[in-house]
Amino acid sequence: MTIALHLVAGVEFNTLPQQLVNGVLLGAIYALIALGYTMVYGVLRLINFAHGEVYMLGAYVALFTSYFLGFRPDQYPTGSTVANLLIMLLASMVVCSLVGVAIERFAYRPMRGHSRIASLITAIGVSLLLQYGGALFLPTSPPPSISEKVNPYYGQSKTFALAKPSPALAQEAEKLRPATESAKASYQAWLSTHPDANEFELPADGKALKTTAQDTERKYQDAKHKLDTGGVNLIIQTGQAVMLIATVVLMGILTYLVLFTKAGRAMRAVAHAFDSAALMGVNVNSIVTFTFVLGSALAGAGAMMTATFLGTPLSTFYGLAPGVKAFVAAVLGGIGNIPGAVLGGLLMGLAENTVVWLGYSNYRDAIAFIVLIIVLLFKPGGLMGSSKVEKV
């Protein structure tokens, strides 16, 4: 018990709701990419290692589309609209579908009928090809990123107060305000009489005023921070909320396609029994193509949204880490199982943020695998997968 207490020392229970929300937001993206893995696996029994690279290309397509829309680094039109985002989303989904289909046609289809591990190596080869080949022709130096100006939700977040801090804290902060303001004012007054002074190389009198101003300001801000963290707040970044909504919508569309359309039924048939489906008159090739279209489009959507809303600079290795995480999520949920991928993704997002919350952010990347191993020990087929016998 003491050890357990020691391990979680310094944990702030106030932030738990926030961390859980963070986990869901993160998990949604994992889920979106994991869907592509799981669908391809379900149909072809192939781990599509190049899926992460399709995701990377999706981010680049979004970047180029934003350039096309006028958001080049040197020329920013003022303001952006949701329409811009939709164009970018559509562009990366379309291009990713095409890339996915091309990969399937030229690299995976010839390998059908050979050992699955051979297809896996081909997939690794395609993934390397896109990483290193892309680096020759795509901009990488300095790593470009989608302009924050294209993101209408830039810097916006919504705060929900779950529990208010004690009013004493607010009073305390308020008490410190006048002193802060007067110290600041006297420092500003001094600065206005010395227009040439560098803020960081002041003579003694200015320096003294500055120090007083900073000291009072700091006390005031510290009190305000205390007030801020005294309550239980839930902050949701608008961009990430949009991501979550878009993810849910896309998953809804996917579920509809898979469950309620003819192509979806054929897809499930192929996933269930590849050869029998072919014998029953399902055009297997076009169904596999359809699967790659769907999976790659989802990857493109995920890439566009992460690149736009989270602002990470792109490189041709952009898809490596999310690809692996999403793959783990897919296996965790039971690879080949569509609701399983969503569940796996959410679970992983939650697990990662729980570890961070406990103060072990340096083990954040390991927890995904630890959870996976534990789950597989008890459910060898993943959370929602069937554990029927299969052979490599």
Partner: protein
């Protein structure tokens, strides 16, 4: 059913024989090792301290191997990350090196001592062991010196390989402090983390008046972990408190978990020691997570890129970081360098490694010009005696410095227009004792 009846393990027959042979072969290797130094099978006790504990400059072992001598042309090798994660930095470093070479050739059309000079760039693929392969390849091709790498982890491998061969190494952007302890053949043109970290700590504590710092470290980058450590130690020494340290890995995209934790610990200021590729998104997400503008963000030279303003946007404006030089500086070297760069590559250098790669190459070439003879040993001595070399990134003096130039560091502020100069720190202002980086050396181990 023979399987069941064979109790002994037949497939170990030959294995046992081979094991015997292995033992025999080892004995042979030992003999070679004790009698004939300098060949394979020797024991090497060099660089015992690098990576585990910091040491003072006096302990730098001198390489014993003779090194290379110039043939009919003089080859200088450069190892750069032309593929992989560090490509943006590696490519700039290569561009800088090639620019310096071109300029040197223009100024010295007859080469050095009548021999033409050539810069050969080899790829490290952003991986330490491949960097070592590249360095050894360059050395076996007759390279007099190795210039590079931009990352500390890769440079350590290169320096170890070069030490055994007596080849001088001029590191470009490797700021990790204990690198130069590997041997007396290791130099650099940048300052060290033992300087950079304290500079930012001092700036935060004294100029910004901050007392509670939160750290965010990229645990995959040795650069970042080293910088965080030196910052933390100096900040604590000054009297501040470190409220929390959070970690991420390069290429992560979402940091809200770490930032939520950090916010709960109520820091006054946040030090982000990673590269700009993650710092921009970190800053953006920090503001979105409700960390107000009154909490300044600080960083090291890994922030230096025009791209940080695109990735961070408004969120990163008003932040400070430590830089080697500033594109807007009025020193003539800077303007000349930028003009030449733009003429050759039609853009501004993307990262600070352009200037540092240029400086490293130029300094090596100038040292070669004044070297007593055209071989590695003379070149090493010549580099060790460089005084007041007018580099783009500031004056570089290596004489008596144990490989670490005591350059000044600039603290710059990020504004909409780019980097604005805030304050310059000379080495002596920050590190008061004369014996080098004494304050933080004992804890430099992560």
């Amino acid at each position: 059913m023979r399987v069941k009846t064979m109790r002994r393990i037949p497939y170990l027959n030959f294995s046992a024989l081979a094991a015997l042979a292995v033992l025999a072969g080892c004995g042979c290797g030992n003999n070679a090792g004790t009698t004939d130094t300098g060949t394979t099978g020797t024991t090497t006790t060099t660089g015992t301290t690098a990576g585990t504990t910091g040491t003072t400059a006096a302990k730098r072992p001198m390489p014993t191997a003779p090194g290379n001598t110039a043939g009919d042309k003089i080859i200088l090798g450069m190892v750069a990350s032309l593929n992989g994660d560090l490509k943006p930095w590696g490519e700039d470093c290569k561009k800088g090196g090639e620019l310096a070479m071109e300029e040197f050739k223009k100024a010295n059309p007859n080469g050095i001592g009548g021999k033409p000079v050539q810069l050969v760039v080899s790829d490290s693929n952003s991986a330490a062991e491949q960097g070592k392969s590249a360095a050894e390849k360059l050395i076996s091709d007759g390279s007099l010196a190795i210039i590079g790498e931009v990352a500390s982890g890769i440079t350590a491998q290169i320096a170890n390989a070069a030490f055994e061969k007596g080849i001088p190494v001029v590191a470009v952007g490797a700021t990790r402090t204990d690198l130069t302890d590997i041997g007396a053949n290791v130099f650099r043109v940048c300052y060290t983390d033992d300087f950079q970290g304290p500079v930012m700590a001092k700036f935060a504590y004294e100029e910004l008046g901050k007392k509670r710092v939160g750290l965010i470290t990229d645990q995959k980058q040795p650069y970042s972990t080293g910088l965080s450590n030196s910052f933390r130690d100096f900040f604590v020494k000054l009297g501040g408190t470190v409220v929390d340290e959070e970690f991420y890995n390069s290429k992560d995209t979402q940091f809200s978990g770490q930032l939520t934790n950090l916010k709960a610990k109520q820091p006054d200021v946040i030090f982000m020691s990673g590269y700009f590729t993650e710092t921009g998104p970190l800053a953006r997400q920090a503001r979105e997570q409700g960390i107000g503008k009154d909490v300044e963000l600080l960083g090291g030279d890994g922030w230096d890129s025009s791209e940080i303003l695109t990735t961070g946007g408004d969120a990163i404006l008003g932040s400070f970081f430590c830089n080697h030089y500033n594109n807007k500086e009025t020193r003539p070297e800077v303007g000349a360098f930028l003009n030449k760069w733009k003429a050759k590559y039609h853009s501004e250098p993307g990262t600070t490694m352009g200037a540092l790669g240029y400086d490293a190459t130029m300094m090596t070439l100038e040292a070669l010009k004044t070297a007593a003879s055209l071989d590695s040993k003379a070149l090493r001595d010549s580099i060790d005696n460089v005084e007041n070399f007018p580099g783009v990134s500031g004056k570089i003096t290596l004489k008596g410095m144990g490989g670490n130039p005591h350059k000044r560091a600039l603290v710059v502020k990020l504004t909409k227009q780019g980097q604005a100069f805030a304050k310059a720190y000379e080495w002596e202002q920050v590190i008061p004792t004369s014996g080098g980086p004494s304050t933080t050396s004992t804890t430099q181990s992560q």
